[in-house]
Symmetry: C2
Subunit: 175 residues, 2 copies
């Protein structure tokens, strides 16, 4: 499984960025996101999307991040910290694809230095400053071999690709 | 050239999301971003990054978006609107790579319906809800054939990839 751990979340300041991080995690093939700071609103938002658009994505906030990383490693999982300072993702992705449980850690603006040591790998998606949202999307794209493109979520509603229109199909599922 | 047009920007509410959109545009190979609503602060932020990290990325805010799209098309450019309702990007990317001037339009939460008609193509990066930041990153990744990985920006400072450290190299360039 691939999980995402979001650290440094500040509910007021980061609510939209962390929402995008969570939606990207879900859309591009992660199975769960954990967020360090408790935030009921973001949990409710993401659960609403999942109920509507399908899948079994899990979200939990209020997680002690260091303890969480230690536990992940004790259970033989691999921890990858995405940072512009890390080694290039593309050189590592074939190795990482073979790991059973991957935890992708994305920080907000300031990341505790300790994380660089705790992570099994510090990996960069470009050494230029950009966005943890983009870094996570590209990382999941590479690690899943682009499988998000064909993933069926089996939701209550489904968007049907269209040249000029907004087509939302009611799939008639209760949930 | 590839340019990005950000529409529906609200300086207070969207400042961080639009900043991420602009940084992604720069890092993944676009040459410029235009933003509909005037916002000096975001211009200053992005120009500061470009002065420091290099390249010749341009930013301009306070652009009348409809006029801008019409002008782009009059100059034989192609307009691509990124939306979860559109046709799958991956089926179009080889065709789009041949276009000379591409304008990628990314909206904030609500997008005027007119845009669906004005754009040459409405394209989706997954039909699931996620993030315009992620959509833009994946789109630029596909359209540039992943060339962002090796791009040299020639900045005053450069991040050197490292397994556990933050290495910032002063390139001794004035600017």
């Amino acid at each position: 499984m691939i999980g995402v751990l979001r650290i440094g979340h500040r509910p007021y300041r980061d609510k939209r960025i962390t929402t995008h991080v969570a939606l990207v995690a879900r859309a591009f093939g992660a199975q769960a996101i954990w967020i360090d700071c408790a935030d009921d609103r973001i949990e409710a938002n993401i659960n609403r999307v999942t109920r509507k658009f399908g899948g079994d994505f899990k979200i939990k906030s209020g997680v002690e991040w260091k303890e969480f990383i230690h536990k992940w490693k004790r259970n033989s999982g691999t921890v990858v910290h995405l940072t512009m300072y890390g080694m290039p993702l593309d050189k590592m992705s074939s190795k990482l694809k073979k790991e059973k449980d991957l935890l992708l850690v994305v920080g907000a603006e300031k990341v505790p230095h300790e994380l660089y040591r705790l992570a099994d790998y510090n990996l960069s998606v470009s050494n230029q400053p950009h966005s943890e949202i983009a870094a996570l999307a590209i990382c999941l794209d590479r690690l899943t071999g682009g499988k998000w493109i064909d993933k069926e979520f089996g939701g209550k509603i489904k968007i049907i690709s269209s040249e000029r229109e907004k087509i939302v199909k009611d799939m008639g599922r209760s949930g």
